[in-house]
């Protein structure tokens, strides 16, 4: 049994989704195991110049162990130790096959 969704609800949902995507598009989030020092932030800006001057949300996540994860919109740069370990595990897993 399928549920019917009215046209205007669909339109509203679509509009909301587009708005959320637009908001997310320019949003930059940096996850790190420890709060980043100024020196570390400078290093980061030097490597990715577009971060400089942009609004960045810094979030601390101890599960990363060390390193950072940079999220720009829907794009992700994983430079964490946890990520490296996961990549290593994935590589070993694929080698097994």
């Amino acid at each position: 049994m399928s549920m019917k969704i009215h046209g205007y609800i669909k339109e509203n949902l679509k509009k909301r989704l587009i708005e959320d995507l637009e908001k997310e598009k320019g949003k930059i989030v940096v996850f790190s195991a420890l709060s980043l020092s100024d020196e570390e932030k400078e290093l980061l800006y030097a490597k990715i110049p577009r971060l400089k001057g942009a609004y960045i949300e810094f979030i601390t996540d101890r599960n990363l162990i060390a390193g950072v994860i940079i999220k720009i919109g829907s794009k992700v740069i994983d430079l964490s130790l946890k990520g490296q370990l996961n990549n290593l595990a994935q590589l070993a897993y694929e080698t097994n096959r």
Binding site: E40, K75, I77, L79, N96
Partner: protein
């Protein structure tokens, strides 16, 4: 003749009487009787002939029956031989089929066993890998102090290629 006691008239009468008697007997009694005897003889001959024919027919029937029995026996023997031959062929075919199926089952079972063993091996390797990664992760979490973590982070950021490609 009278002295001899023979009366010629009587004798003549007796002769005439005899002749008449002979003629009458011959004509009205002897002829039908002979005819009757002849008929009886003919009937007897017919009976004998019919009896012969019946006997002959019976013998022919017996011969035919014997021949039929022999033919039936031969047909039955042939059918039995054919059935035996077919049974033997069928049996050997069944045996061959069964052997083939057993062989195929054996091959399948061996393949399944090999596949399962390989799958188990792969699972064990995966589990070992996951366990190793978990141990390393936990060990790093426990062993790295704040300074070490900062050093690692700094090292990662320093060695990060500039203009890094942003992945999805």
């Amino acid at each position: 003749m009278e002295n001899l006691g023979i009366d010629p008239k009587l004798m003549l009468a007796q002769i005439v009487n005899f002749v008449l008697f002979f003629i009458i007997v011959k004509k009205f009694i002897a002829k039908p009787f002979i005819q009757f005897i002849a008929n009886e003889k003919k009937k007897e001959k017919d009976k004998e002939r019919i009896l012969e024919e019946v006997k002959k027919s019976e013998e022919e029937c017996l011969a035919k029956e014997q021949e039929l029995k022999l033919r039936t026996k031969k047909v039955m023997t042939d059918a039995l031989d054919e059935a035996k031959k077919e049974t033997t062929t069928f049996k050997s075919e069944m045996m061959r089929q069964a052997e083939k199926e057993v062989s195929e089952m054996k091959v399948r079972a061996q393949k399944q066993l090999t596949d399962e063993r390989e799958e188990l091996h792969t699972q064990m390797k995966d589990q070992t890998l996951n366990l190793s990664v978990s141990i390393v992760t936990e060990a790093l979490k426990e062993s790295l102090d704040e300074e070490s973590k900062r050093k690692v982070t700094k090292h990662i950021l320093s060695n990060m290629p500039s203009q890094i490609a942003v992945k999805n």
